[in-house]
């Protein structure tokens, strides 16, 4: 594991992204509209409501001024309140300084009960059906063969877990320090935040799914249909870059519960796990439980050889 005691430096890893973004900026949606298809696009936009037009013309989240952010938040909150019949809060809390989030999961404790999977769905407003979206996949593996993703079973369904001779490996976004998914996005709709969380701007995502094919962990999910979120189950405490309701045609993924963790709370999966297999904290804080684990336990990274540099550490607590 490479340890980086300084706050996340943007240069080494992100520079290709940055320079590409500059070129992207020369062709924003606004300028495209201004030159080329003024007539055609104008006709389309003319049939939109003012809100839809505003949403369509919205800049990328990172380019918005403070005032524009406030406007976008107000527009989204009104939209969700209308759609779900109850008030929503769309937070925009920035990264906490000197914080680099890390996660650790104890393979010697996880019993494969999938409580985390469903707590995540509930907390993060995933689509419940057609198709359902789950950000956590729990893999059942054979103790004799050890970690072997190809031979693992995602669909195990015995009466009781753990099953004799098996262990369980939950997989979710590894919040890579060197994420291939953000590199391949042709429109810059996904990036790594200063606290290390890889996020998606759903209002900018064009749904091409390049990031899904680039991610070696199957951690990104696509809304093939209109997400099905029953209003009574919707979590109203949201973040713009996290669990706010999504739309059809966009990609989504685990954000370490950005709406919770940026307020100092633990992610929902940490709080639900009945065996306490899930650990979370600040990698830059030597007193955090994740640092203790990295320094004192046997730790491994999933597909370490790909140099994605996960901030998700599997360990054996025994």
């Amino acid at each position: 594991m490479t340890e980086d005691p300084s706050p996340p430096s943007r240069d080494a890893l992100d520079s290709p992204e940055e320079s590409r973004e500059e070129s992207l900026q020369q062709s924003t949606r606004r300028s495209f509209l201004a030159y080329a298809a003024a007539a055609a696009a104008g006709a389309v936009l003319a049939s939109c409501t003012p809100e839809e037009r505003e949403a369509y013309l919205q800049k990328r989240f990172r380019e918005l001024s403070k005032e524009d952010v406030a406007k976008v938040v107000a527009r989204l909150e009104a939209e969700y309140a209308r759609k779900y019949g109850k008030p929503f809060k769309v937070g925009v809390e920035p990264a906490i300084p000197r914080t680099l989030f890390g996660y650790a999961l104890d393979l010697s404790r996880c019993i494969g009960c999938r409580r985390c999977v469903y707590a995540c769905v509930k907390e993060n407003n995933q689509s419940r059906r057609s198709p359902p979206i789950q950000w956590i996949s729990v893999l059942e593996m054979d103790k004799r063969t050890g970690v072997d993703v190809m031979e693992s079973n995602l669909y195990y369904d015995p009466k009781e877990v753990p099953r004799e001779g098996h262990f369980y490996m939950p997989v979710q976004c590894q919040q890579c320090r060197n994420p291939p998914c953000t590199r391949v996005c042709p429109v810059g709709a996904t990036w790594q935040e200063p606290d290390g969380i890889v996020v998606v701007d759903y209002n900018w995502c064009v749904g091409c799914r390049c990031c899904m094919s680039a991610c070696p962990y199957g951690a990104r999910h696509f809304n093939w249909g209109e997400p099905h979120l029953p209003p009574e189950e919707a979590n109203q405490e949201t973040h713009y870059l996290g669990n706010r309701p999504r739309m059809r045609g966009v990609v989504e993924k685990c954000t370490f519960c950005i709406q919770r963790t940026r307020k100092g709370l633990y992610p929902a999966c940490v709080e639900i796990c009945p065996v306490g297999a899930r650990k979370f904290g600040n990698l830059l804080d030597p007193e955090s439980e994740v640092r203790y684990i990295i320094e004192n336990k046997r730790v491994f990274l999933l597909k370490e050889e790909l140099n994605t540099q996960p901030k998700f550490f599997y360990f054996y607590g025994v």
Binding site: V275, G276, F280, E289
Partner: protein, 189 residues
């Protein structure tokens, strides 16, 4: 002359406790036997600072706690034997050779007792478990063994060992898993 604390430790050892408890030394002038015991039992868990490990209340079994309700009227009997009503309610499956007074104070019974003779409230039972399970206790204190909730950069709530493990039968109970994901071929809409 043996101190009371020493007698209990010897009793615990004779009962097969064998938790790495070291032989006791004679008290120095002016030192209480308890202080000697605490100072010489390696890893003897010391008293926590107030609110160092905030925990929920212990899961007392209804109709069983307070122990003193019956045991005030009974004499402590250190001989392992069949106990009709306790064996039915909470059979003791905590490794071989355990007996009630390895953990419970003989009298008054509503507290626990460490191997060094110190009595502690049930709300600090982790100190008792930590005597044998020192590795788990060490990891628990830093939030790595067991569940800790609250705030990653602020106040945290711990769980007592006994909030997850039944002390009389500590093996974690299997659970019914929540449903598996839908296979792609089963999605029809």
């Amino acid at each position: 002359m043996k101190t009371i604390a020493q007698s209990w430790i010897l009793l615990a050892l004779a009962g097969g406790a064998g938790c790495g408890v070291a032989p006791q030394q004679a008290p120095l002038p002016g030192q209480t036997p308890e202080a000697v015991a605490a100072a010489t039992v390696p890893g003897a868990p010391s008293a926590p600072k107030a609110d160092e490990y905030p925990v929920p209340p212990p899961p007392f079994s209804e109709g069983i706690y307070p122990c003193s309700f019956c045991h005030d009227m009974l004499d402590p009997n250190p001989t392992p034997r069949v106990l009709n009503n306790h064996d039915a309610e909470q059979p003791l499956r905590h490794g071989p050779g355990r007996w009630c007074y390895d953990c419970h104070n003989p009298k008054p019974m509503d507290v626990l007792r460490l191997a060094n003779g110190t009595t502690i409230p049930f709300s600090e039972s982790y100190r008792l478990c930590g005597q044998c399970h020192g590795d788990k206790y060490r990891d628990w204190k830093v939030g790595v063994h067991g569940k800790r909730t609250g705030s990653w950069n602020g106040k945290k709530e711990y769980r007592l060992c006994v909030n997850c493990h039944n002390p009389h039968a500590p093996h974690f109970k299997p659970l019914r898993p929540l449903p598996p994901p839908v296979r792609p071929a089963e999605i029809h809409e």
